[in-house]
Amino acid sequence: MATTHTEPQETPPLTPAVFHVLLALADGERHGYAIMREVAESTGGRIKMGPGTLYGTIKRLLEARMIVESDERPDPDLDDERRRYYRLTALGQQAARAEALRYAEMAEVARRKRLIGKPARAAQAGGLS
């Protein structure tokens, strides 16, 4: 049985491209173009992945078993059925969560050193202390 690890030190750090792809797939399965759009939108257009970077990252994530190709194909009327959809595995979710915690811990350190202030949205929602 696979065990779930959530401690950031238990998984190696991820590259930004890998982390962005994992985050894009956190909401559900997507194809390559949708992943690229999601990454661009979530970063305010600052990161636009090229086909080489995106599929190189996907290849490595597949090899690491952090994502898998989905067997289900979309309705041909709604989308191009040749597109390949990918989804997170438990291992991918665990790695993304660990990386997010690692970022959060680093942000907390930066906040304590007064390099950054409290995020307005998080403060309003009573989120991160």
Binding site: G32, Y33, A34, G52, Y55, R82
Partner: protein, 330 residues
């Protein structure tokens, strides 16, 4: 979520797509085969977005962004492929290096290789169809010369006897002689039953098979011609050889005298033909030669196993030295 193209792509978008497809050749073959179509599709989608956003300028900006990405990632993929190959070699090295000593590698490989070669040779030898031989011999006496005894040393040593043997050998091999054999033994039907499930063979077909199964040769300096027939049946093999002799003797008795034309040229017509040896069914097959094949298999196995075992033991020793050196420096 996905922009389904509702109108045909502009020429610039289509051209960009085709150009990108060509540029995919920069990636390793395996990567291209696996992800090439998806990458091309993604780029076409990006082209449509860029065209909608900024027409020509949008496409230009896209190319300026994608080209460095393509160069960088193609290099990365090639390096990754190279690394995989090196890893495989290292794994092979681990496989050979282990359990240490090269002599152990040599012993293991030697035993495996030797057993494999001997087992294969033996198996093939016993699978091969068996073939029996029937052998007859005839003695030709030349004209105008005292009849020599075939047991005498070199009774046909003179150069004048050679044309007789050669010409008579051709007569023995001739269709006229062999057709009589086919007729006498009813080979069209007999071999038809054996080879074509009862369907009768034509005479040319039977003749071709018969010629393939016959070996005729002169025995040097004796005036003898040896006729050897091969078959999977020992009785049939001897019947074939004897039938060829009978047919040839009958044909010889009908040959015209010297100087009257045909094959009976001066010096090439025998005065008499005598059957020296009649073929009898052989007790054991002549092909395959099982003892010889097995001995050859053992010798070949020893040689091959020594070469391969020695080579791999050398490689193991070399890898072991490298590993020790790396361990010392590391």
């Amino acid at each position: 979520m996905t922009p389904a193209p509702t109108q045909p792509d502009s020429k610039a978008v289509a051209l960009s797509g085709r150009l990108f497809q060509r540029l995919l050749a920069a990636y390793p073959k395996a990567h291209r085969r696996e992800y090439g179509p998806a990458m091309a599709q993604l780029f076409r989608d990006q082209c449509r977005d860029a065209w909608r956003a900024g027409r020509g300028w949008g496409l230009t900006w896209l190319w300026l962004r994608v080209l460095p990405d393509l160069v960088k990632t193609s290099v990365v993929e090639h390096l990754s492929t190279l690394k995989e190959r090196i890893t495989m070699l290292e794994r092979l090295g681990m496989l050979l290096r282990p359990r240490s000593a090269p002599w152990l590698v040599f012993s293991g490989v030697f035993i495996l290789e030797f057993c494999f070669v001997v087992a294969t040779t033996t198996l093939i030898t016993f699978i091969m169809p068996e073939s029996y031989a029937g052998t007859s011999k005839i003695l030709l006496r030349p004209q105008a010369a005292p009849a020599p005894r075939y047991t005498e040393a070199k009774p046909f040593a003179s150069a004048d006897d050679s044309p007789l043997i050669q010409s008579q050998l051709e007569v023995v091999k001739s269709d006229a002689v062999l057709n009589k054999v086919i007729e006498e033994l009813d080979l069209n039907n007999a071999w038809g039953r054996k080879l074509l499930n009862g369907e009768r063979l034509s005479t040319p077909e039977t003749l071709a098979i018969l010629k393939h199964n016959l070996v005729m040769r002169p025995l040097r300096n004796t005036g003898l011609i040896e006729i050897r027939a091969f078959s999977d049946n020992p009785v049939e093999a001897s019947d074939l050889a004897n039938a060829v002799v009978r047919s040839y003797c009958a044909h010889g008795s009908r040959m015209p005298a010297a100087g009257t034309g045909g094959l009976a040229l001066p010096g090439v017509r025998p005065a008499s033909i005598q059957t020296i040896q009649t073929a009898v069914p052989g007790p054991r097959p002549v092909r395959p030669n099982k003892p010889l094949n097995i001995v050859l298999g053992i010798v070949g196995g020893l040689l091959l196993a020594s070469v391969i075992g020695g080579g791999l033991a050398g490689l193991a020793a070399c890898l072991g030295r490298k590993a020790r050196a790396a361990g010392t420096h590391g």
